[in-house]
Symmetry: C2
DNA sequence: GGTTAAATTGGAAACGTTTCCATGTGAGGA
DNA sequence: TCCTCACATGGAAACGTTTCCAATTTAACC
């Protein structure tokens, strides 16, 4: 019997605002007002409606509401790969903030594929998402940018450069990779290193470009022959196999220090060094770009450039919420987050050869 | 004047199906049929509609469609923390599969908070999401389960035990942690270890329970005094500081081998061992549960229990898609994925004392 | 008490689709 | 040529809200 009842509730559709109106003996308009604004409703109606809604277990249908109000209470988040630790924490933090504001977050991985990026932007628009957090896979994907712009929904950029043409710059959360790279390089130069390799993916995107700029700036300001400044670009972190690092370290004039991004590239460099019998930091100094578990726990612990991924996510969510509240003009429209150098055990003076 | 107004509305709002109908000189019903089914439409209408839609850049409004069709093309994913590497790849893989099927995925972090879990389930239901992938934070959160059940949308469980009462078991993707733990323990016992510590969070959830069961089973089948089988439960991986591992390894009869979950607990154990001057694997054998970057790249490389997170995500998505297609009865309703022991350098025989 | 303003209320339109239903059109067979 | 029938089409209802507008009640003030 209870089985039957259960079955019924499963099958029977949920209570609508009409049911509540009927149960409370008022019109649907009054129910809507009572439940939402609370403005212009008498105490009696408010009470009766609340009681009826409670009794019927009424839950408003967001789909229907969305159709009318043109707002979905959902925000899209577009990154190349949510499983990448460098993105995962950003997504996590942004979701937390947005959820606190009553918004849901839909995520999509683009794998840096421009076509997929455009497809997802279109999907977001079709679904009328209220806003978008996005880290485009390339700063030159003009079509994607254009479609992003015509969407109507506010967009917040995650650590990417926006095309210059735009008159009013889009809100963005940027990380000061340039200063970070400069600090790290300066530190290594100060230790006596002259041949330093910077291992980072793509100059196609802001983080890579900025790091390279900071790297070169450090050489320039130290007034040192920059021929030892080796910039090794990787198409993506995936492509950097151990072999590449091996080639690098086998060179006649091998670098005495390496600055390596993320987890995969860093891992490749560390393994290559180990395979060649190079001790860290004795034979090779290493700085990680991004303070991952790997860097912190490795033996020896790896000196790392650290910035707060949580802050990136939070700031992005905040910027977006600000736009959604309609304050399109006022307030900060871009945040620049600092990068710190966390000193550990993986750096020392180069061996005098 | 009206021209002006028209222009305005054209710019502000997107083309609707009405606009397409007018442009093609047919009724809205015909446009809908032409664009969707393709059934019962003449060649002429199909052509004209397609042309008009193309010209106007028409994109259907999913919100409106959802209202009518009772389906949103979105599925929810509920885990404790998308930034946890053990979840991130699952989410990533599931999203990839679902996107290929034209579905969007909304994610939410519950931080293992039952209240938040329920709130998100309610939010998903209000939004009428088509389905839910969920890894509940506790197998005893009965209210959450109940609300999950009454949602109407198909649910796929990620590596959790479903309450027994249910007559028809829910679809689930399970990982064979029991067999994995047994294999690892057996391996260590075979090497001669008798005092082995299993460091895993919560027996509140299936993975922990299964691992403990497998761990004990290995001792039992080897007919060995199980007093050396140390199960160290952690409320969550967060709580396991390095200090706990230090206490463990300072004991008079310290374990000669450790099986440690994930990244944080493993890191804590490794650091503690290092701080105490214990060499791996000489003084201490270590097995990681979950093949993270840390395990693979650490020196020495850590022997690890590995299962495919991608397979978990893919299988979950597949199971859900199967339900969404209406095949509620047929087909596999649960998958059990294998766990492999990846032999590396972190295990050896214990020192004879 | 009467007049006016303000507050509350019910009814209906609107949001953009899909789908039902009745009508119209054509072809094919008698 | 007429009848039948399948098929194509237009019009309208429906999905569940919010919001506008007009109507009604209440409050306020003289």
């Amino acid at each position: 019997m209870s089985n039957m009842a259960l079955r019924m509730t499963e099958i029977v559709s949920r209570a609508t605002i009409r049911d509540v109106a009927r149960a409370a003996g008022v019109s649907v308009g009054s129910v809507s007002r009572a439940l939402n604004g609370g403005k212009n409703v008498s105490a009696r109606v408010a009470r009766d409606v609340a009681a009826a809604a409670e009794k019927l277990g009424y839950q408003p249908d967001f789909q229907a509401r969305s159709l009318r109000t043109r707002t979905t209470g959902m925000v899209g988040c577009l990154v190349s790969d949510v499983a990448n630790p460098l993105y995962a924490s950003i997504v996590q933090a942004a979701e937390a903030r947005l959820r606190d504001a009553g918004l849901l977050m839909v995520v999509a991985n683009t794998a840096n594929d421009p076509a997929r990026e455009r497809a997802m932007v279109a999907a977001f628009r079709s679904r009328r998402l209220d806003g978008i957090l996005v880290a485009p896979g390339s700063d030159e994907n003009d079509r994607a940018w254009r479609e992003l712009a015509t969407g109507g929904a506010p967009v917040v950029i995650l650590d990417r450069d926006v095309p210059q043409e735009e008159s009013t710059p889009w809100p963005a959360v940027l990380v000061d990779h340039r200063e970070g790279a400069r600090t790290a390089t300066r530190y290594l130069i100060g230790l006596g290193h002259r041949r330093i390799a910077l291992l980072t993916p793509g100059a196609r995107m802001r983080p890579g470009r900025e790091r390279i700029a900071g790297f070169k700036a450090a050489f320039a300001e130290a007034d040192i022959d920059p021929s030892g400044a080796l910039v090794c670009l990787q198409e993506s972190s995936m492509d950097f196999a151990q072999g590449d690092a091996l080639d690098l370290l086998r060179r006649e004039q091998r670098p005495t220090a390496i600055i390596a991004l993320g987890t995969r590239i860093l891992a490749g460099a560390l393994r290559a060094g180990r395979d060649l019998g190079l001790s860290v930091p004795g034979d090779l100094s290493v700085i990680a770009v991004g303070d991952t578990d790997l860097a912190a726990v490795h033996t020896p612990a790896i000196t790392a450039l650290r910035w707060s991924l949580e802050d990136v996510g939070r700031a992005a969510a905040e910027l977006l919420l600000q736009r959604l509240k309609g304050a399109s003009g006022e307030g900060q429209s871009r945040a620049l987050l600092p990068v710190d150098l966390v000193l550990r055990e993986s750096c020392g003076p180069p061996k005098t050869t």
